[in-house]
Symmetry: D2
């Protein structure tokens, strides 16, 4: 039925969908670790070759996934555990974080659409230091190592007329951070992963990622400094859900029904720019924002 319908921002799901078709994937390494006590599953996918990047439709680089089934449920201790795990992963993947970095954190997405507001929500609660350090020096903080933290919520293109990448490029040139951390809502392929998975990658953000329409890439190449992206799938593309349901039912027999294809394509066209989300999305986004916010504050030790 073709991969044309499938849309996922998770490298984990991209790999699974290929495995399903029983292809052996060279140039992709996968490590999985499961902590029974915390029920956290950490998967580390490294896409090492151009070929595998093309096959998975994801750029070369490292993708770490933290899966936490109860992430959006009200359990503060568990949230702290996830936060600590995310913090640990950030400390490993953000280059130079052990030194006194200047970091810009960027919250992508649309704060007026609940499922797309993750990035702005995280940024709203970060500890920001750059203006204080610039005015009063590190002395203001009474500790040896003070990271210089700034943050930006660029807004979505429909409201700014500009690509997030354009806005960031300008601000980065002007304020010269050492590294950028981008937070964004993603699209998953399966509703089972919604609001219970965090992906961390050193490949940045790419066209069409997430709910928003972020057309230009935000990567080390385009920004001139390393870009770490933290993403949480909060929606599933509506066409993808229907496509997958049909595939399940029709199975391999699909190839025998070319007319059916036609109909499916037509019916999915209606679903362009539609997405699926849960009823408690406001509560869940709030919980996850806290988890990510605490992890970033912790990783930067502000």
């Amino acid at each position: 039925m073709g991969s044309f319908m499938i849309r996922t921002d998770l490298a984990l799901e991209a790999r699974e969908s290929v495995d399903e078709s029983e292809q052996v994937l060279q140039g992709v390494s996968v490590d999985e670790e499961y902590n029974e006590k915390s029920e956290l599953r950490i998967t580390r996918v490294v896409i090492e070759s151009k070929n595998s990047a093309k096959l998975l439709d994801k750029p070369m680089g490292t993708y770490i996934t933290i899966e936490a089934p109860a992430m959006a449920l009200p359990d503060e201790d568990y949230h702290q555990e996830i936060s600590r795990e995310l913090q640990k992963q950030l400390q490993e993947i953000v280059p130079g974080i052990e030194k006194e970095l200047s970091v810009m954190i960027v919250g992508l997405g649309n704060r007026d659409v609940t499922a797309d507001a993750l990035g702005p929500n995280v940024v709203d609660n970060l500890v920001i230091t750059r203006h204080m350090v610039k005015e009063f020096g590190k002395a203001a903080y009474n500790k040896e190592r003070v990271p210089v933290v700034s943050a930006l919520i660029p807004g979505v293109m429909a409201k700014t007329g500009m690509e997030s990448a354009e806005i960031l490029k300008g601000v980065v040139k002007e304020t010269k951070p050492d590294v950028i951390i981008v937070v964004d809502a993603l699209a998953a392929r399966s509703t089972k992963r919604l609001n219970r998975t965090i992906q961390i990658t050193n490949t940045g953000i790419h066209p069409g990622s997430g709910v928003g329409n972020h057309r230009n890439s935000i990567t080390e190449e385009s920004m001139g400094v390393p870009v770490i992206a933290i993403g949480v799938p909060t929606v599933v593309d509506a066409a993808t859900i229907v496509n997958d349901a049909l595939y399940k039912v029709l199975g391999s027999g699909a190839d025998e029904f070319p007319k059916v294809f036609e109909e499916i394509r037509n019916s999915l066209g209606e679903l362009y720019n539609m997405y699926v989300t849960g009823k408690d999305v406001d509560y869940e986004i709030k919980q996850i924002s806290h988890i990510i916010c605490n992890a970033i504050n912790g990783a930067l030790d502000v």
Copy 2:
């Protein structure tokens, strides 16, 4: 494939789905009127018998639908036209509106979930007079006929622990309005109707309507005063969309594949409490809120 999956709050769609199965519907009258200039289609469905009510899964009463294809697009003149049409319909369906009514307007839904925030958004911008009339008399308004307008946003059960109906019952007993107008986001069956249809009904609000989980009815029977409901479909139930896509493909052949049924049911279970909405839902809800707000203010002549 059974109607068990189908979920729509629009009487119009309920009727269509029955027509499709080629049943003649007795006890349901339908009048349609199309204004070519304004491109507004007004459909008036009256469910007159208990039988037809059961068949359509909608209570007996009048359901008026205003369909306006470009309702959510940025065109202020067109919005005013829709507003005037809605105002006209309200003036006909709200009992006693030509007199000096005491009206309570209720905004149902969750203001923190964009697609469910229609009710709260409308109420946020209404002209409220009750407190002024109570304190200064009608003299404060310098006109002969001053309606007594109050408004309430009860919030959703997950955040109040109470049914909206419980809250309203109490407030109605205490403040004794002559009539209640309820505004709520609805679920449609087809994405084509999202954010371009307004339904006005004198049957009130019923369990499971809209995105929110409003379990108890808000009707003349439960409230003791007439209840007019204004609703706009802003979401489609995710299970309904998949169900309808499958039905299109499998057609009448479905009955031959009982196993397929089973699979479908299982895969739809995952979609419980999931809904489909569009990417520009924030902008569209804002536009439609203005239209409804202006129509209510106009109809009450405040």
Copy 3:
């Protein structure tokens, strides 16, 4: 210069202002406790006679004040300490809290005015159980004692046309909680107390309290069940600030200048319905909302 200008919702300040005029106050008992380690000052004012109630312009009852100088600063450990202290005070003052109470928490104020949004913000983050207990019984919670918690944000009169007291009366009659806890933003006399003081009282809420215009009382008398009020001064009345500054300068000499009085009154008239608040009010309200929310959740043990 007359007390006509002075506006404070804090019993603590009302008492101080009387002391200043060197009157001995009978019928008012005051206990103060200072914890050097936590830097928390707990003052317990009990107004025991009608006379003293009249003099202080506050109803008879108990007023506990927690003063925490750094309450609005970013220090999570300190916030937890304040939260625990507030929780302890609530456990003492809420009648029957050791039993399995049914509690309704009410967030007064206007969520669209930052300094007045304390009540709504607190309620937004509470753990609500009533709907779960009603549907699934206590079994849903897997503990012996499950309080039945509901919550309401009635909105301000300018937007509802109804007094908060009217709305509450209706809802209380309908849902019959054992006790009401009301959270509201208050007005202090001195800017020094803004956002660093919490008042807990068993006298409820009275006309003109806080920024909002809550005209009717919310008390055990009007509601039929005990009403505990938690308030934090977030604003100072603008006329009060000018009045106090003038008084400081003119001192007792004021009586000699009747013309000056006249001018003052005129200039203060301009300030009617104006209030003074700080630049970081959004951040501070957010911090304090968390403190109060955690304390209520803790006191109810949900």
Copy 4:
């Protein structure tokens, strides 16, 4: 009593305060026009010399003030009249607006503090075209002259760690608009001017303007393109209000009481970073945002 306390962002008030001290102001031209029918007063202050700029503590340039006593009251026709007047003034002061300009509109201020949210609110409702023109060309708009409109809400320094000026400089270099229009909340000297005055100036935005703390200038000099600023006074500095009240009472006699000075200074220190605002600030800001938004959309003819 010294101008050290006086804080106003309105050139109109700065001039008045000098006039009061009966100094003749050379290098300042003032034109006033009053429209009896619309009750709009338009004042055009041009500061033409360095000397007068220093005396008024305002940079050389043109300051147009539209005073509309009922600006914040609910009267849509009147709002349209103010909007048209503002549109007319913009069409005169924005250089090159008759051509097909590329314009960036910037909403300064803090969207989480009601009185400071004017800029973000205006930008939220603008018609944005830049992304459409870039993707589809002017053909998308079906008219001859399509302005290229982009917009940005940079956020306040406490939340970004960056000066608004730094962010803008970067974005301007990257996206190269022909002109910048900045919208911001201002501080007035008198509560009488709050939410009923609009100032338009070609001098941009300067340190300490408005409620927010925008330290670096946003001017043609710093940005490289003309900067037009639209401002509405939404607050009065608390120290200014007390200062002015004291001055009224003490009058010229103040000089005789040096001790009084001392006390005043001390008492005003407490008021640092405190401001005075009205109770209906949410409603009023909403009304005025609409007025300005419509005027900008109209002036750009989008």
